[in-house]
C-alpha cells in the first residue's frame, strides 16, 4: 500500500510538470491554432532563467592571493560573491532561495520571448499546413537549444533547493502511520502545490477577467469577436506570451529536481504532446487532467509488481494509452467534437 501511495505521489509530481507544459501548449493551439514544437524549448529557457539568475547573484569578486599558489603555479584566486558583500544577510537569502526568486526573472524573459517568437516567426505560418508549422517550430527549438549549449555548455547545471525546503516530509506520520513509512521530498511537494496554483491562476484569469472572457470568446468564434471591433490577434499574441510564462515557470521550479542541460526541453516535448492529444487538442481541462493521469500511470507502471507481469510496460505505457485513445476517441478525452476526427 505504501508503495502505491508513493508511486501516486511520484506520478502527481511528474504530472504537475506535464500539466503545466501541456497547458501552455494547449493555450497556443486553442488560441492560434498552431502546433508549437518549440514549446519544449520554452521549458528549457525557463530552466535556464534559474541557472542565469543564480550565476548573476553568485558573481564573485576575484582577488589574487599574494602568498598562495594554485596547483599549476599561478596565484590562487580568492572568490567572494558580490551579493554577500553588497546585501549582507539578504544576499545570503537571495543565493539560498535563488530558484524561487528566479521566477521574477522568468516573467519578463518568457513574456518577451513568447511574443517575439509569435510575432517574428510563427505568425507567418498561421495559414500554412500543420506539417509546416511543426517543421519551423522544431527548427526553432533546435536553434534555441544550440544557443543555450554555446553559452552554458552541455553538462547539467545543478540548482540547489533552499535549505529550509531540503529533506523529506513525514507524510505517514501525519496520518498516524509509523515513522519512515511514507516520506516524500519537501521540494517535490512544493512543486506539486506550485503547479496546482499556477494552473488554478490560469483558469481564474480566463474565467474571471475581461481579458480572459474575450480570449475564451475568441477561442470559440474568432471571426465574430473580430467583427465586434476587438483586436483579438493582439490578445492571442499576449496569450502566447502567457503560455510561455506558464511553461517557463514549470522549467524554473523543476531545476532542483532535474539539473537542466540544453536537451531538457526535448525530453519533455514528446510526452507533453501525447498529454495534449490524450486530453483533447485545444481543451485546457483535458490537458491538465491528462497530465496528472499519465504521470500517475507512468509511475504505477514502473512498479516491480507490474513489470513482473508485463515486462517493459513502464517504458511504453504512455504511448499505449495514446494509441488506445486515438483509436477509440480520436478527439481525446475532453476534445471538441470533430477535432481530429475527420
Amino acid at each position: 500500500m505504501e508503495a502505491i501511495i508513493l508511486q501516486v505521489l511520484n506520478g502527481l509530481d511528474k504530472g504537475g510538470a506535464y500539466a503545466l507544459i501541456a497547458l501552455g501548449l494547449t493555450l497556443v493551439f486553442g488560441t492560434l491554432g498552431v502546433v508549437n514544437f518549440a514549446h519544449g524549448a520554452l521549458f528549457m529557457i525557463g530552466a535556464f532563467c534559474a541557472v542565469t539568475f543564480r550565476k548573476l547573484i553568485t558573481l564573485e569578486q576575484v582577488v589574487l592571493s599574494k602568498t598562495e599558489l594554485s596547483p599549476w603555479g599561478t596565484p590562487l584566486e580568492i572568490r567572494t560573491p558580490y551579493a554577500q558583500q553588497w546585501f549582507g544577510d539578504f544576499g545570503n537569502v537571495l543565493i539560498d532561495y535563488s530558484v524561487p526568486f528566479s521566477l521574477l526573472l522568468a516573467i519578463p524573459v518568457m513574456l518577451l520571448l513568447g511574443i517575439a517568437m509569435e510575432r517574428g516567426i510563427i505568425k507567418h505560418f498561421y495559414k500554412r499546413p500543420h506539417a509546416e508549422q511543426i517543421l519551423v517550430t522544431f527548427g526553432l527549438a533546435i536553434v534555441l537549444q544550440e544557443i543555450v549549449r554555446t553559452f552554458f555548455g552541455a553538462n547539467p547545471n545543478p540548482q540547489p533547493i533552499p535549505q529550509s525546503l531540503q529533506g523529506v516530509a513525514e507524510l505517514g506520520v501525519m496520518v498516524g502511520m509509523a515513522k519512515n513509512t511514507i516520506t516524500y521530498p519537501i521540494w517535490r511537494l512544493v512543486y506539486l502545490f506550485f503547479s496546482l496554483s499556477v494552473i488554478a491562476s490560469v483558469f481564474a484569469f480566463l474565467k474571471f477577467t475581461t481579458f480572459g472572457l474575450v480570449v475564451r470568446a475568441g477561442m470559440s468564434d474568432r471571426e465574430t469577436v473580430s467583427m465586434l471591433g476587438i483586436n483579438i490577434d493582439k490578445r492571442f499574441t499576449i496569450m502566447f506570451g502567457i503560455a510561455a510564462i506558464v511553461t517557463g515557470f514549470a522549467g524554473v521550479m523543476y531545476t532542483p529536481i532535474l539539473p537542466p542541460d540544453y536537451t531538457i526541453g526535448m525530453d519533455f516535448l514528446v510526452l507533453t504532446f501525447i498529454v495534449v492529444v490524450v486530453g483533447g487538442m485545444g481543451s485546457l481541462p483535458g490537458a491538465v487532467l491528462a497530465g496528472f493521469m499519465l504521470g500517475v500511470l507512468q509511475s504505477l507502471a514502473s512498479m516491480t509488481e507490474v513489470k513482473d507481469i508485463i515486462p517493459g510496460i513502464d517504458q511504453i505505457i504512455i504511448y499505449l494509452i495514446a494509441v488506445i485513445v486515438l483509436l477509440v476517441r480520436p478527439r481525446g478525452l475532453f476534445g471538441k467534437r470533430g477535432m481530429m476526427e475527420n
Binding site: 596547483p71 599561478t74 555548455g153 516520506t183 521530498p185 529536481i257
Partner: protein, 448 residues
C-alpha cells in the same frame, strides 16, 4: 645422357633454381629493408604527421570532448617542442625529443563523434580518407569506441580510444589496431570491492539501478560479482531507461526494500539525475538493517560530478585518474594544462594526452610510422611517469594496466574543481585478469 656429358643434370638444375629463388626472394629484402614504410595508408613521406582527433564536439558529452581536444592540442605542442614539455619530461623510457615524430612536424585534424556510432565512423573515415590522418583517437562512449575501432581495423589505421569503460572494447570486440588507456568495469569492481568492505563491512544488501544498455550490463555484472565475493547480498537489480530524467519511480521502491546500499550503475546525465534524486529522497538519511544506507557510484568523472553538485559529497566510486595525484607525471601535466587553460585537466584529458605521447614514442622506438610496426612497439610496452604508476599495454588484448583510483566525493572542496578525493590507489596487480575471459580476437597485423 647427352646432358650428363655437357655437365648439366637435374641436380645442377635444381641447385641453380634454388639459388635463383633464394636470390630473388632474399636480395630485395636486403636492399629494401625499411621500404615497407612507403606502402601504407597516409604515409606523410617526410611531410607533416597528421593525427585525427575524433571527439564529441556536439551532443551530451561535448564538454568532455572539449577537454579531450584541449589535451590533444597540448600534446601536439609538446611533441613539436613548444611549451614546457609536460609529461615529455617525466615519461620513462622515452624516445621523444620534442622535434615532432621521427623528426617530422605533428599536425592534427578533428572530427565530431556526436556520441553516435554512425557519425563517429563517418568523421573517422573522412579524416583517414580525405585529411590523411595516420591515427584516430578520442571519444567518450564505448559504443562509439567499438564502432570506430572496427572501422580502423578494416582501414589499417591505429585507433587509440578515449573514454570507454565497457569490458567489450578490449574484450569480445578487441582489435589489433585498437588500444585503450582507460580502465574497464571489471577493474572498477576489483578495485572498489575491497574498499567497500573496509568502509561498509561485509554484511550488506545491495540494490542496483542500472542503465539499460551494454555498458550498464557489464558494470552491474562486475560490481555484483565483486561485492558478492566479499559477502554482500544482492536484493534486486533494476534496469532504467537511458536518459530517464526523473528516477523517482525507481528510487521509491528502494525505501521500502531490505537494501542498505544503493549502487547506481549510471554515467553522465543519468548519474547526475539518479544521484541527485536519491539524495533528495533522503536515502542517505535513513537506516536499514541497523546501518546507514549508503550510495555507490562505480564510475566517477569530475566533469560529471560537477553536474551533481553537493550531492556527490561522501559518495564512493572509481576513476581512471585525478588531477590531485602527486606523482611527477601528473604534476607536470596539471601544471602545463593549468597554465594553458586556467583550470585542471579531467581524466578524459589525461587519457587523450598520454595516448598521443605514447603513440609518438612507439613510432620513435619502431623507427617508422608503418602501423604494424608501431602496433608491435606498443604491445607489451612498459612505462612509467605518466600518472598511475608503472603501466603496461598488455599485448594479448591491448588493455592498459595500471593502478586504479578509488575516490570519494570531497566533503570540503577547496575549489570548484576539487570534487574528488583519492581514497586509495589500488595496485595494478589487484585489478588484473586473464585476457581470455572476455573472448574476442585481435585480428591480423597486415590488412589489405
Amino acid at each position: 645422357m647427352s646432358n650428363i656429358k655437357n655437365g648439366v643434370n637435374r641436380r645442377k638444375v635444381l641447385k641453380g633454381a634454388t639459388a635463383g629463388i633464394i636470390t630473388a626472394g632474399v636480395a630485395p629484402t636486403i636492399f629494401t629493408k625499411g621500404a615497407w614504410a612507403q606502402e601504407f595508408r597516409n604515409d606523410p613521406k617526410g611531410g607533416d604527421v597528421i593525427l585525427g582527433f575524433n571527439v564529441p564536439q556536439t551532443g551530451p558529452y561535448s564538454d568532455e570532448g572539449a577537454d579531450e581536444l584541449r589535451a590533444y592540442t597540448l600534446a601536439v605542442k609538446h611533441l613539436n617542442g613548444e611549451g614546457d614539455g609536460g609529461m615529455l619530461n617525466t615519461m620513462q623510457p622515452s624516445n621523444l625529443k620534442g622535434n615532432g615524430i621521427l623528426g617530422q612536424k605533428v599536425t592534427y585534424v578533428t572530427g565530431d563523434t556526436q556520441t553516435k556510432s554512425d557519425a563517429a565512423r563517418d568523421s573517422a573515415r573522412r579524416m583517414i580518407e580525405r585529411d590523411g590522418a595516420l591515427i584516430i583517437t578520442g571519444g567518450s562512449s564505448s559504443g562509439v569506441a567499438v564502432a570506430v575501432q572496427a572501422l580502423c581495423q578494416e582501414m589499417g589505421t591505429i585507433f587509440m580510444a578515449g573514454l570507454t569503460h565497457s569490458d567489450d572494447t578490449t574484450g569480445k570486440d578487441k582489435k589489433r589496431y585498437g588500444f585503450r588507456h582507460f580502465f574497464n568495469t571489471y577493474m572498477t569492481g576489483a578495485a572498489l570491492a575491497p574498499v567497500l568492505k573496509d568502509e561498509y563491512g561485509s554484511d550488506r544488501v545491495a540494490y542496483h539501478l542500472t542503465s539499460d544498455y551494454n555498458w550498464g550490463y557489464t558494470q552491474q555484472r562486475a560490481i555484483k560479482d565483486a561485492t558478492e565475493a566479499i559477502g554482500w547480498k544482492t536484493e534486486k537489480t533494476v534496469l532504467t531507461p537511458v536518459g530517464q530524467g526523473d528516477f523517482s519511480q525507481y528510487i521509491t521502491p528502494i525505501l521500502n526494500s531490505g537494501a542498505d546500499v544503493v549502487i547506481l550503475n549510471h554515467y553522465g546525465k543519468d548519474m547526475v539525475n539518479s544521484l541527485t534524486q536519491s539524495i533528495q529522497f533522503g536515502l542517505r538519511d535513513r537506516q536499514k538493517n541497523g546501518k546507514n544506507i549508503e550510495i555507490v557510484v562505480p564510475l566517477f568523472s569530475r566533469l560529471m560530478a560537477q553536474g551533481a553538485g553537493d550531492n556527490i559529497k561522501g559518495i564512493l566510486g572509481s576513476t581512471n585518474w585525478n588531477w590531485s595525484l602527486q606523482d611527477e607525471g601528473s604534476k607536470a601535466f596539471v601544471k602545463s594544462f593549468g597554465a594553458e587553460y586556467g583550470f585542471p585537466p579531467s581524466m578524459a584529458a589525461h587519457t587523450c594526452y598520454v595516448q598521443t605521447l605514447l603513440y609518438a614514442d612507439a613510432c620513435e622506438r619502431a623507427g617508422t610510422l608503418y602501423p604494424p610496426e608501431v602496433i608491435r612497439a606498443l604491445e607489451g610496452h612498459l612505462f612509467d611517469g605518466m600518472g598511475n604508476g608503472p603501466t603496461e599495454y598488455r599485448a594479448e588484448d591491448h588493455q592498459c594496466f595500471k593502478d586504479v583510483l578509488v575516490v570519494r566525493g570531497n566533503a570540503n572542496p577547496t575549489s570548484q574543481f576539487d570534487l574528488l578525493e583519492v581514497v586509495q590507489e589500488v595496485p595494478r596487480a589487484q585489478v588484473e585478469y586473464d585476457a581470455s575471459i572476455f573472448g574476442g580476437e585481435l585480428g591480423p597485423y597486415e590488412v589489405s
